[in-house]
């Protein structure tokens, strides 16, 4: 047994509540109408290539990523474009989306391999891999949705030593990555091999928290066939899935403030992304579906579904045997970093890892009391910041001081607010502060 590693600074241990850990991935049925938002990736939204009335096939390119940081978007269903209009997304804003009337019998775009056979041999060369990932609209599926082809394009003068694969899933409740590792382990490893080829690295390390011993054992078995890929079991601690924390935990390197992982020779990718890379390169299959966990303490059947992008979450909740009566909050993502959503019409996007239904009595925040200066927020901050101070500076609009106190290093993990005995909305103020300081920095350019 390899010694467990973890990151050193800060961190908390929320109740894990992995209710759906044993529910194998099920294919979800198709909706009547799909809503495909154009801005599903970090960076610029994709530009639509279709118009009202167009017939689309599954996997057909329907919107193109034109600027440097942007991604392609493909039709997740066969059907007719109803309109391009604004729709509420998980942020609560109305943003442009392509509405598709879904047709029952599915027709795939030509050249896509939809079979289940595993293609092991990697024929594509470095450039083909990157192009194919770009064409297929692959973005980081861990939640940040950063376009993968951009990540693979290493800046001049830098070199990657390690590819680090994030199988941590430190968010409570969520199990989509866990199930993926168990059920698509082989595809994932081939995907990792492809990423290694594109990055020209010799070593890839998959970090998995040891609350998933089945995934660790399964992948340990499988990696025997794959040279250069190893598994690193990690101690359970939130936010270990944070890029910087994961790098620190696995290779003990610290990404400098304001810099990217490549600065310390690392590239981090999520297990889901590795599977999407496999699909893109080996099967020519664009990213149109992902695994989404539907869970919550009152949910009758906590499940993991393989869902097409654009499916309204109502359908997922129905498949998990309905919305519990006492639901007070619906969260897109996990309880620590997920976003509360306003409506059941919000569609699944590339970045949706789970739908968490919280009971009404667990949804309400406790009313904030006065800060007792216990310094717990400072002790748990994984970035070594002083949340109590930054929140106060943001409250007082002292943005320049907040900048000097490194507010922009905040990764919004929420550990401070989670731990605050006075129930202070620390992260609310930190977000406000980051927003204002960000404006300040941009205005100087």
């Amino acid at each position: 047994m390899i010694a467990l590693k973890t990151f050193k600074k800060g961190g908390v241990h929320p109740e894990e509540n992995k209710l759906s850990a044993d529910a194998s991935i099920q294919k979800l049925s198709f909706p009547k109408q799909a809503i495909v938002p154009l801005g599903q990736n970090l960076g610029a939204p994709s530009k639509p290539l279709v118009k009202r009335g167009d017939e689309v096939k599954t996997g057909q390119l329907i919107a193109k990523g034109e600027s440097f940081i942007s991604a392609n978007l493909h039709a997740p269903f066969t059907g007719k474009v109803l309109k391009i209009d604004d729709a509420i997304d998980s942020s609560g804003y109305r943003r442009p989306a392509i509405f598709i009337d879904v047709q029952e019998d599915e027709q795939w775009e030509e050249g896509i391999d939809t079979s289940e056979t595993i293609v092991r041999e990697i024929k594509a060369d470095k450039q083909t891999i990157i192009d194919q990932i770009k064409n297929c609209g692959v973005v980081g599926l861990g939640g940040a949705t950063f376009p993968t082809h951009v990540k693979l394009t290493i800046p001049e003068g830098k070199k990657a030593d390690y590819l680090i694969i994030n199988g941590v899933e430190c968010e409570p409740y969520l199990t989509s990555d866990h199930r993926l590792m168990l059920e698509k382990g082989e595809e994932m490893l081939i995907g990792i091999k492809i990423l290694m080829k594109a990055l020209e690295v010799e070593k890839a390390i998959i970090g998995i928290e040891n609350n998933k011993p089945d995934a660790i054992n399964h992948l340990n078995e499988l990696t025997k066939q794959y040279v250069g890929i190893s598994i690193q079991p990690l101690k359970v601690k939130y936010p270990q899935g944070g890029e910087k924390q994961l790098i620190k935990a696995i290779v003990n390197r610290e990404v400098p403030s304001g810099k990217l992982p490549i600065e310390v020779g690392c590239v981090v990718s999520n297990v889901g992304t590795a599977v999407a890379v496999y699909d893109a390169v080996q099967k020519n299959k664009p990213l149109i579906e992902r695994v989404v966990t539907v869970t919550g303490k009152a949910v009758k059947k906590p499940s993991n579904f393989l869902v097409r992008v654009g499916t309204p979450i109502q359908l997922l909740i129905d498949a998990a045997e309905g919305l519990p009566e006492n639901t007070g909050k619906i969260i897109n993502g996990g309880p620590m970093m997920g976003k509360a959503i306003t409506s059941l019409d919000v569609p699944v996007v590339k970045g949706s890892s789970g739908i968490l239904l919280m009971k009404r009595d667990e949804s309400q925040r406790n009313s904030p009391q006065t800060c007792i200066r216990c310094s717990k927020c400072t002790m748990v901050c994984p970035m070594g910041l002083e949340p109590y101070l930054l929140a106060k500076l943001a409250k007082l609009s002292l943005y320049e001081r907040a900048e000097n106190e490194k507010i922009m290093d905040c990764i919004e993990c929420g550990s401070c607010q989670f731990t605050c005995p006075s129930y202070l909305p620390l992260l609310d103020f930190l977000r406000l502060g980051k927003n204002k300081v960000g404006q300040l920095i941009r205005s100087r350019k």
């Binding site: 600074k9 609560g92 310390v264 200066r373 910041l385 002083e386 490194k406 005995p421 006075s422």
Partner: protein, 335 residues
């Protein structure tokens, strides 16, 4: 509009809250409370009750009639303050002095700054030092500990504390060895278990350490503050003991007498008035240790922990500004 609650992440909260923290401290104080009752009997109960009830009463009066804001006496902070105040006085203190002390503690030490979380100084120590300066005779006449079940020798004996004996002896020109050999000086075991004269709660080092370990385990206090105070006292006193053992007593004497354990574990660690960062906690603890020994060795008072803590309390904002936590990603990476 929407039937669902919308709020920013995180959507879950840990188990900790202010009330829990305060009652954890109360729980941690129970061993020391029991020891004080064992040694001082009904007097200890009387002092504890008067202090706690007065603190709660003054907080309630001030919040309700002076500030006219929400009353938060159930949060447990006034109970903790009251207990600590009682721990810092002799068991035979007249009740009216204690009530005045509680008024100063809550009124000036805590509420005048805005209540819980705002006070720069440890309120119980503000009250204690006020009483020490205003009523020096009553505050320094220490009833000798009289274990509950032991045969009572004489009633109402008062005598100096071990530190007081030391100071008097040194002033009279005796050597340390002569002073320690004096029959009125409590021996080692007595000093450890608290079988000696002194304030209510500073008696038994073992009981205080027990409570301290519990608080560290429950993460209510950080070990750095008590540890750095005790270590500094030990090293600093040790250096002088090595230089002149006839004038400077062995360092362990300093650790188990007077209010050092009480101060280091319960008073200096007060969340509100201690530093926020680990490096700051070390500086703060070292400062308290140094000042304590300086006062004990060369000051006018035999005891210096209270003053040391209050002095270092005043430096806390400066310490917080000067000693920042180690930020992530600030080290030069060797690639």
């Amino acid at each position: 509009m929407s039937q669902f609650i919308i709020s920013g992440s995180p959507h879950v909260h840990g188990e900790e809250n202010v009330k829990k923290i305060m009652y954890t401290v109360v729980l941690a104080l129970i061993p020391a409370i029991l020891v004080s009752i064992y040694f001082f009997g009904i007097d200890a109960v009387r002092v504890l009750l008067i202090a706690v009830i007065s603190c709660l009463f003054f907080e309630w009066v001030i919040q309700k009639y002076l500030i006219k804001g929400p009353v938060t006496i159930t949060d447990g902070s006034a109970v903790v303050t009251g207990l600590l105040l009682a721990f810092n006085v002799p068991s035979n203190l007249p009740w009216w002095i204690l009530v005045i002390g509680a008024l100063v503690t809550i009124g000036i030490g805590k509420m005048s700054f805005g209540g819980l979380g705002k006070n720069p100084f440890n309120p119980a120590l503000v009250g204690r030092v006020f009483m020490l300066i205003s009523f020096p005779v009553q505050m320094t006449s220490w009833p000798v500990a009289k274990p509950l079940f032991a045969e009572s020798i004489t009633d109402a004996i008062t005598g100096p504390t071990a530190l007081g004996l030391l100071k008097e002896g040194l002033d009279a020109g005796k050597t340390v060895d002569q002073i320690l050999a004096d029959p009125s000086m409590p021996d080692y075991l007595d000093r450890l278990t608290g079988n000696m004269g002194g304030s209510l709660g500073e008696m038994s080092a073992i009981a205080l350490i027990l409570g301290g370990l519990y608080m560290v385990w429950r993460k209510v206090i950080d070990w750095q503050v008590p540890f750095s105070i005790i270590l500094t006292v030990f090293i600093f006193a040790g250096i002088f003991h090595l230089i002149d053992p006839t004038y400077y007593v062995v360092p362990s004497f300093h650790l188990f007498t007077g209010g050092l354990m009480l101060g280091a574990i319960y008073m200096a660690t007060d969340m509100v008035s201690s530093p926020m960062n680990i490096s700051g906690k070390w500086i703060y603890g070292i400062g308290i240790g140094l000042i304590t020994i300086i006062i004990r060795m060369w000051g006018a008072y035999p005891e210096g922990v209270s003053f040391a803590i209050l002095i270092m309390n005043a430096f806390v904002p400066l310490i917080n500004n000067s000693f920042k936590p180690k930020r992530f990603g600030m080290v030069a990476n060797k690639k």
